[in-house]
């Protein structure tokens, strides 16, 4: 599909001026979250599938790849279309557990 872009009339410099502070805050919140997890249990970052995906997402975030947001959305998503045979729980967990999916095949 061809995107029909409506660019913001803000200049690149104005975009940075307008949004830098709040995104600086988001960056620090991320760092604080990871430090908090480490203080609780340094092994958790490897043990919890959500944190493993989170770490992979940070690699994308730090890269120069185009469309980082799209890549991260895909990384967090179940890529299959296979229905569940039965309802396992009501809520989503926020990340797709690829290793658990492999085990149930």
């Amino acid at each position: 599909m061809t995107a029909s872009a409506i660019p913001s009339t803000l200049t690149p410099a104005q975009l940075v001026d307008e949004y830098f502070i709040e995104n600086r805050n988001r960056l620090i919140e991320l760092a604080a979250f990871l430090d908090r997890i480490d203080r609780a249990d340094p092994r958790l970052a490897d043990a919890d599938f959500r944190l493993r995906v989170f770490r992979d997402a940070l690699q994308i975030l730090a890269s120069d790849a185009p469309d980082r947001l799209h890549q991260i959305q895909l990384l967090l998503s179940d890529p299959t279309t296979t229905p569940l045979a039965a309802l396992d729980r009501k809520g989503a967990r926020g990340a797709w557990d690829a290793s658990a999916a492999r085990e149930t095949r």
């Binding site: 599909m1 995107a3 872009a5 409506i6 947001l69 959305q73 039965a86 967990r93």
Partner: protein, 276 residues
């Protein structure tokens, strides 16, 4: 600026929220039937809820000058219960006749189970047979991409259901193209923690243009923001977008989509056709 919130679960909200929405320019809203946070046990429970949506909420909204419309159906969170879903489906046609019922919704999937797909497919078949408009919930978080793909696969089995009469809601960056390229309307629901923020919604408007895109605040019983649409308007202004473009997204687009139902009208509204 006048706006229409096409996805607002007002049964979970106080009258003060209606007042705030009215004060910030809301002139109409549509309320899809949804999950109450716990599972109902009988079809009578659903009928009481449908009466609340068709009788009580329109009166509560009218006290603040807001027109209230609704969409009815078995919501995705309870649709895995096939026995109860089939009972609700039997009762549904009578309620669809109501003067403020715009169509079937919000239907769709939660965890994308076989039962959920069967219940969703039953609703879509009913919508095609009864020529109803449809509002579809797409699943949360890691299930969204999968659920959106299955949602569209089922819709495409019904050539008699015009894509222009179907709104696929809760779109995000990884699903919006799929929805738009098949001719459906895409809904962006603005939430403080999940789904889409006002900033990302504006990004998507900038990237894909305003055609067939709607924004809403959800007004859920969980963390959500009744004033999400006016806050989206503020974000559009922060990017220096024109008032015409903003009005197109928050007022003209919902009028254009919802006016496909002869039951929908907004007093004093500029029609979609008039602004085309």
């Amino acid at each position: 600026m006048r706006y229409i919130d096409h996805h607002a679960h007002m049964v979970s909200r106080t009258t003060d929220d209606y007042a705030q929405m009215a004060l910030t320019g809301c002139v109409a809203l549509t309320e899809p039937a949804f999950w109450a946070g716990w599972d109902r046990s009988t079809v009578e429970g659903f009928e009481d809820y449908f009466r609340q949506l068709t009788d009580f909420e329109p009166k509560r909204a009218a006290q603040h000058g807001i027109q209230h419309y609704t969409w009815l159906g078995m919501n995705p969170k309870e649709s895995d219960n096939r026995e109860l879903s089939l009972e609700v489906l039997k009762k549904l046609p009578a309620y669809l006749e109501g003067p403020t019922v715009l169509g079937i919704g919000e239907i769709g999937m939660n965890r994308v189970t076989k039962n959920e797909i069967a219940t969703y497919a039953d609703h879509v078949a009913m919508a095609a047979r009864l020529r109803q408009m449809v509002l579809i919930h797409t699943p949360h978080l890691e299930d969204k991409l999968k659920g959106t793909r299955v949602t569209i696969d089922v819709l495409r089995q019904h050539a008699d259901l015009a894509p222009s009469r179907v709104l696929v809601d809760h779109a995000e960056e990884h699903t919006i193209e799929l929805i738009l390229e098949h001719g459906y309307w895409a809904g962006l629901t603005l939430y403080p923690q999940t789904k889409v923020s006002a900033q990302r919604a504006v990004d998507m408007i900038e990237r894909y243009g305003p055609d067939r895109i709607l924004v809403a605040g959800a007004c859920d019983w969980g963390p959500s923001e009744p004033l999400a649409v006016p806050k989206f308007v503020m974000e559009m202004r922060r990017r220096r977008h024109s008032e015409d473009l903003i009005q197109r997204v928050v007022f003209d687009n919902p009028v254009r989509f919802l006016s496909q139902s002869p039951k929908f009208s907004v007093p004093g509204a500029v029609t979609a056709a008039g602004r085309a």
